[in-house]
Amino acid sequence: MSAIVVSRLRPGEGGALRLFASQEALLAFAIIGIAILVGFYNPRFLATRNLADIVLGNAYISVAAIGMSMVIVSGNIDISVGSLIGVLATISGSLAVAGVPIILVWLTPLVVGILVMMLQGAVIAYLRIPAIVVTLGMLSILKGGLISVTGGRWITDLPQSFHLADIELFGILPMPVLIMVAATILAALWMRYSASGRAIYATGGNAEAARLCGVSPQRTVVMVFALHGLFAGIAALLFATQLKVIQSTVPPNLELTVITAAVVGGVSILGGIGTVVGSTLAAVLIAEIASALVFINVSPYWIHAVQGALILVTVVADILRRRRRQVGG
């Protein structure tokens, strides 16, 4: 199939690199554009404080979106991430309250996250069950499990040391933002400079060819999910340490926001291309819109509609852009 497409392509037209660029540029423009528009309506929107809060309050989404975009690049999807983050947040919170050494409090969710996601990855890759089914099932297992274990008891009086979010570097740079930026950069570098990083693109782009090149699609998928789990763990930490209370329930619709960020971030749903930088920008964009809605007195109820529309527009644009590179579609 891909061969047919390949041979249909007209020589020397818009390369995917330019496509990445345009995608990220687009997002950057959108972010700035909205800021300016809303700024006209209410200058306070542009206050550094507000802009900082927008990023700060949603850093965990950006981090989760990194892993998600890797998963999508590898040609899969995961809708269990929201529930997993809820579970991991609760775990770390309970540990913190139980007085476990803070290092363990921070490491355990990462480890658990990796294990859970690896399990899913293995089922998907080796047992050949579509990701959608596996993660849909896992979603409800985690959700139900969390409630039945915790009974939804809130976790309160967390030790001060637990609150990552309160740590500020040089008094200005809040930890979550730092982690978000660091994670994005590291992930971007890893995907570019490691053989396994490229293997993700190979698997998503042309699994058969990847196999002939000695890249194991199965192993790659498992690895991708493991990483996804790691980022989910980090996201869970940022999520948990943001407030002085952990609800120990599953944050509603979180997986949708994360997927939106990843897709809008320039991950081609046809698999194979994508950029974690884009997904981080997209997460910021979504957060910005959510906040803008309040500033322009639009009820937050529209946020889901906006998210859905964003996905549609990006995906359709992506497909058409690719198709325009082919003669006769």
Binding site: S2, V6, S7, P11, A16, Y201, G214, V327
Partner: protein, 518 residues
């Protein structure tokens, strides 16, 4: 074929040949693909494999590149016997294959594609992009390719450059034997000359090359030796300097023409299909032709010359961008296969597995697939009628199947093809388009299908037959059209259609002009 001819001819001195295969046998359910094939490739030799489609070339190279395992026979590399259980084994033995469908990652750069799976590492195991780019540059330099930046994304490259990337990948693994399957099929003239240039360089560096092509002129320009296959058997191996285009065509086509069911003459009636300046880029460029009732119009040409694309444009799979189609004199718009079917056009596609049959479904369901309306009342399928339809089909086309509930995927190629044919004839079409009607099926079934074709023509059906097998074209057609690079380049009456003339026209060598004149 005499033993003397088959005795491998040693090239150069006593040096062990790079590759030596002997007595290779391979059969698939229903088909005997290869029987007793032996040949050698010496370092720095270009060894051409020649043969019609279904002659066994692809099977042979798949065996050499470790995709298939032979039923019998040996493979020696540098005189050492070798078991190739996987493409990986072949790669390690220094054998690289460039398939017709290039296996590339469209979204990755040239350098990444070249080094996918064996990229240079820097400290800490991270990819060394500098080295990767440098090495790629070096490879490009050795082949004096100037217009290919390592950082380009493959998806944005021309087909020719894509192929060069594949060649680079092979070289980057220091392949010593390079197999090229119809490398020029999809290339423009310019790219072809550049490819030849590269091949010569490789040759001069001692790389052995197995070169598969239909194009006679290429073989004479490039190859040192040529091995001709027919129906899975080795007809012979010749030094190119000692043979001629005529002889090779003769070897390819052989005595087959006689063995074929000749088309019985039928009264040629009114035009059923008329095509005027049909255009569908890139492969259908202003085509005009006419098919009459009772006539079999043969459409010859090389793989990739645009014949199937033309057929699929007529059939509405890829609707035309401009031009007119007339069916029995009336101008019609064909935007979907459904419409084509309604107009009495049937298309037996080239690729049975993916286009012709729904292989997990059973015989009955496949037979009725193209004529559901006939076995249904108000959209409700009448099981009895459907069974009757299938039974008549099975008996009429002598399909060998256990029962109507047999899943067609398990039938032999010949039987599958009969079902595809039957499925369409159940629809009582006016025009039957046959795309490679006998590809990859055994001789017996072949004959049956040919007999059937002339029978149908005799009943007044108009048939447009696409075939890459000259004998078939020559034996079955009332008229022969030749396509090359999306255009009709020659037309022959049955009388004027000789293997040499048509073959020449297909391959675009000197003979072509003669063809056009005819």
């Amino acid at each position: 074929m005499s033993a003397a001819r088959n005795a491998p001819i040693r090239e150069g001195g006593p040096a062990a040949p790079l590759l030596a295969v002997a007595g290779i046998e391979k059969s698939f359910p229903g088909v005997r693909a290869l029987s007793g094939v032996s040949f050698e490739v010496a370092p720095g030799e270009v060894h051409a494999l020649l043969g019609e489609n279904g002659a066994g070339k692809s099977t042979l190279i798949k065996i050499i590149s470790g995709v298939y395992q032979p039923d019998a026979g040996t493979i020696h590399v540098d005189g050492r016997p070798l078991r190739l259980d996987s493409p990986d084994d072949a790669r390690r033995a220094g054998i690289a294959t460039i398939y017709q469908e290039l296996l590339l990652f469209r979204d990755l750069t040239v350098a990444e594609n070249v080094f996918m799976g064996h990229a240079p590492r820097a400290r800490g195991g991270r990819l060394d992009w500098k080295a990767m780019a440098a090495k790629t540059e070096a490879l490009l330099a050795t082949l004096e390719i100037a217009d290919l930046a390592p950082s380009r994304v493959v998806g944005s490259l021309s087909v020719g450059n894509r192929q060069r990337v594949e060649i680079l990948r092979a070289l980057s693994q220091d392949a010593r034997l390079l197999i090229m399957d119809e490398p020029t099929a999809a290339l423009t003239e310019y790219d072809v000359t550049r490819l030849f240039d590269i091949v010569r360089r490789l040759k001069s560096r001692g790389v052995g090359i197995i070169y598969i092509s239909h194009r006679m002129d290429e073989i004479f320009q490039l190859a040192d030796r040529v091995t001709v296959l027919r129906d899975g058997a080795q007809v012979g191996t010749r030094r190119v300097v000692e043979t001629s285009s005529a002889e090779l065509v003769q070897m390819m086509v052989g005595r087959q023409i006689e063995s074929l069911f000749p088309k019985v003459a039928a009264a040629v009636g009114a035009p059923v299909l008329e095509v005027r300046d049909l255009v569908r880029r890139p492969m259908t460029r202003s085509i005009s032709l006419t098919v009459r009732a009772g006539e079999i119009l043969g459409l010859a040409g090389l793989v990739g010359s645009g014949r199937s694309e033309l057929a699929q444009t007529i059939f509405g799979v890829t609707p035309a961008e401009s031009g007119r189609i007339l069916v029995s004199g009336e101008s019609v718009q064909i935007r979907s296969p459904g419409r084509a079917r309604a107009l009495g056009i049937a298309y037996v596609p080239e690729d049975r597995a993916t286009q012709g049959l729904v292989r997990p479904m059973n015989v009955r369901e496949n037979f009725s697939l193209a004529s559901l309306a006939r076995v249904a009342r108000f959209g409700f399928i009448d099981p009895a009628a459907e069974t009757r339809l299938a039974e008549t089909g099975v008996t009429r086309f002598r399909v060998r199947t256990g029962s109507l509930d047999q899943v067609v995927g398990r039938l032999s190629g010949g039987n599958q093809q009969k079902i595809v044919l039957g499925k369409w004839l159940a629809n009582r079409p006016k025009l039957l388009i046959l795309d490679e009607p006998t590809r990859g099926i055994d001789v017996g079934a072949k004959a049956e299908i040919h007999r059937l074709m002339s029978e149908l023509a005799a009943q007044g059906l108009a048939i447009l037959m696409i075939s890459s097998e000259l004998p078939e074209v020559l034996g079955m057609s009332d008229r022969v059209l030749v396509m090359r690079e999306g255009r009709l380049v020659a037309e022959f009456s049955r009388a004027a259609a000789t293997a040499e003339a048509v073959g020449a026209a297909m391959m675009g060598s000197q003979g072509a002009d003669a063809g056009r004149a005819a």
